[in-house]
Amino acid sequence: MSLRDETDTVTCQSWRNELRVIFPSAPLAVREALGTTLEGLRHLRLSCDERSTVELVLAEVMNNIVEHAYPDGTSGMIEMRITNDRDGLHCMTIDDGAPMPGGALPYPDPPLPVADAAEGGFGWFLIRELSSDLVYARIDGRNRLEFRLDVGRKLPSC
């Protein structure tokens, strides 16, 4: 099924242990998708700090797709899949926009705290600071980004 076959609104499915949120590439849709995703994770009872980490990393990943994979208002859909496991939240985004330049993820230097600091370039820095196991792949004309967030660990029961 092509992502483009989806409607132009945010849809959310929860199946077994996986949450899927599908939404169009637009800044306001990202906002809505974040709200939907956090609502879908509510049962995990994340702490405020964990919740803010999840919201920030997902926002950065989603905004990168909106700005770079679908540049200049190109229309397209974005899919976010999240599963909860013993080592945290396993997240995956899928889009069929433009590939990552050079086929690799950016690895920016830490920002410099100077008065004429750059106004951008914080996104990938924050994603790398707050996530683990970051993997990018271009598969069948689609971008796939996977990462793990060390929050809401599902502890084995006694």
């Binding site: 906002r31 405020c48 700090d49 926002a59 950065e60 905004n63 920002p111 600091a117 750059a118 106004e119």
Partner: protein
């Protein structure tokens, strides 16, 4: 992006009346601060107490707002909520701003101490 503008003593306080400063609102935010601070006093205090979420675009907009002030003006930040403070801390941008924890820093600004009375 709505800002409430409160002139106090030697400063102007710009209260951000939004819960998010993100990719969807960053440009409007930067423009609103520029317009509100234009020809204003040298201290420009951005009251961020209502902002619950700020992403890298929002951070860029705050830095951009600082850089577009007049040379004699300084941007100070007031009341960063935990999620917003985290972004400033991780990126080390907390080092380039004067950040006030509470309204005690605003001498004479009694109006600011009562949120409810002045919320619009």
């Amino acid at each position: 992006m709505d800002l409430q503008i409160l002139p106090i003593d030697d400063a102007i306080v710009l209260r951000v009346l939004a819960s998010r400063v993100d990719a969807a609102s960053a440009v409007q935010f930067k423009d609103a601060v520029r317009d509100a601070a234009h020809d204003g006093p040298h201290r420009v205090i951005l009251d961020m107490r209502q902002v619950q979420f700020l992403d890298s675009s929002g951070l860029g907009a705050v830095i951009g707002a600082m850089k577009q002030l007049a040379p004699k003006q300084r941007l100070e930040l007031l009341g960063l909520t935990p999620a917003v403070a985290k972004v400033f801390r991780l990126t080390r941008m907390e080092q380039i701003f004067t950040i006030h924890d509470g309204t005690g820093a605003l001498d004479g600004a009694t109006a600011l101490r009562n949120d409810q009375a002045h919320a619009s």
